[in-house]
């Protein structure tokens, strides 16, 4: 579905990604874990087009999308949620979702079409309902607690009607209860709607519980891959990331 081929991304002298090849399988949830600074967020941003790889290619449905910018990939159906929610002041929850509902309207003469139309807001409300934010449509997004802003990130991504959903630390800052609800939501999106999902998480149990397949990154390189059980048993992963305590526990 989405494939990276030998991707490197350097920032000055820092090699955030170094020759990474991986693929997100259609209709599956792929987990990406690794310690801080392993290159997880960089990896998602390369997939979403926010970073151009220094080397290597990105393929989406066998099409080389490496030269495409983030807006073009969003229009193709590759949606990214940000680790720190994007909620500029004075935008309501509904307006931020509306912005994504209009993804096909930001070019040519369509740009001048009226945006506050009934069918547009119907779509906005349907998306908000899916993530349980209906009652917050009129609220200023930046005033919401972090847990709800994280849900809004997901709502905005879903409003793009994506084929691939890239989730960057979706549970960070959430209470255990909120994280559980979120995991249920992500599983539903995958099982009921067949969405292909990549999830970067610090919360290892959450990632392993959700994922069909996992990759472990370490210093910008792939350390291990496989089904969650296999990966967690991999001695290299235990040594580099999970720690001896995890192995014992």
């Amino acid at each position: 579905m989405l494939r990276l081929e030998n991707v490197s991304k350097h920032f000055g002298g820092i090699r955030a990604l170094d020759g990474v090849s991986l693929s997100l399988r259609e209709g599956r949830i792929t987990g990406i874990i690794g310690p801080n600074g392993a290159g997880k967020t960089t990896l998602l941003r390369v997939m979403a087009g926010f970073y151009k790889p220094t080397r290597g290619r990105v393929y989406y449905r066998d099409r080389d999308v490496t030269p495409l910018g983030p807006h073009e990939r969003a229009r193709l159906g590759i949606a990214l949620t940000f680790q720190i929610p994007r909620a500029p002041p004075e935008f309501t929850v509904g307006q931020l979702v509306q912005a994504a509902v209009g993804k096909a309207m930001y070019r040519g003469a369509a740009m001048l079409a009226e945006r506050d139309r009934g069918e547009v807001w119907d779509r906005v409300h349907r998306v908000l309902e899916r993530v349980g934010l209906s009652e917050y449509a009129e609220r200023e997004a930046s005033q919401l607690p972090l847990g709800l802003q994280k849900r809004l990130e997901l709502a905005r991504a879903l409003a793009l009607e994506p084929r691939v959903l890239l989730l960057d630390e979706p549970s960070a800052g959430m209470s255990p209860e909120e994280a559980r609800e979120l995991a249920g939501l992500v599983r539903d999106l995958n099982e009921k709607e067949g969405l292909t999902i990549a999830i970067v998480e610090h919360n290892v149990p959450l990632a392993t519980g959700l994922s069909h397949y996992m990759y472990v990154l370490h210093y910008g390189r792939l350390l291990s891959e496989g089904e969650p059980g296999e990966v967690l048993r991999d001695p290299r992963v235990i040594e580099a990331y999970l720690g001896a305590g995890y192995a014992r526990g």
Binding site: G69, A74, P88, K103, L112, R115
Partner: protein, 308 residues
Amino acid sequence: MPIPEYYITLATLVGIYGIAALGLNITMGWAGQVNLGQAGFLGIGAMTSAILTAKLGLPVGLGIAAAALAALVVGAVMGLVSIRLREDFLAITTIAFNFLVVYIFEYYDVFGGSYGISNIPRPSIGGHELRGPSYMFLTWGILALLVLLALRIQRSWMGLAFNLVREDENLASAVGVDVRRMKVLAFAVGAMYGGVAGALSAHFKGYIVFSDFEFPYSIAILTMSILGGLDSIAGAILGSFIVVVSPEVFRPLMQYRRVMYGVLIVVVVFFAPRGLLGKNAVARRLLERMMAGYGLAPKGKKKEGEGG
């Protein structure tokens, strides 16, 4: 009793500068792209129309349309430059652009050099030359059309895309907005307004010279925008009114006019950063309360960016 010529002149100038300030609001207020050289775009519009009509004898209508187009194209180029610049460098670059335009006007004969261009014709309809009140109506008619265009942009996806680019470029990209294209568009459209304002001022005065478009005029236009509220359509016109009329009211302070612009900007930025008619601004709330008192309250909740 006819309205004295003096008031007609003031009203015409308020209309002309209202157009210029409205253009600046689109570039700077809506899309967040700093432009401290709007007078340069007025100059490009004024010179284009003046050369086409006074030197080549083309109709004034064509001159104004060409002025809009010329400013639009140069604005788009400025927009392309803006893509590569951070906000503070963009501010300096737009000032430099203003100086460059004025320099070219002064040193190239086609723009009349230091003598400027004179005998710029008035527009005429059916052999009747538009002067005094009729020119004022023409100016306000064009202003009305450009306000309608601005309203259209504000309520469209383009307006939302501008606001997203202003607030967060990553967020804008993530929802499918081509950030570079929107920056170019914001500059081009704002510059086009400036070009029309410049052409209207050229045909109004009949004579233009390079110094009419120097940097202090950009600051005057910026003062109008900030005073009225950078995100407000009505604010641009109110700002133009205040800046055009106040020197007339406070005539003894005329020599301190430029200082007053600076003081006005500082006062507004400190006490009413949204301007007088910007979103949630004090004057705007008062106005809305008064309108509500007369049963004229706007229906429903206002959406983002609908400052006008």
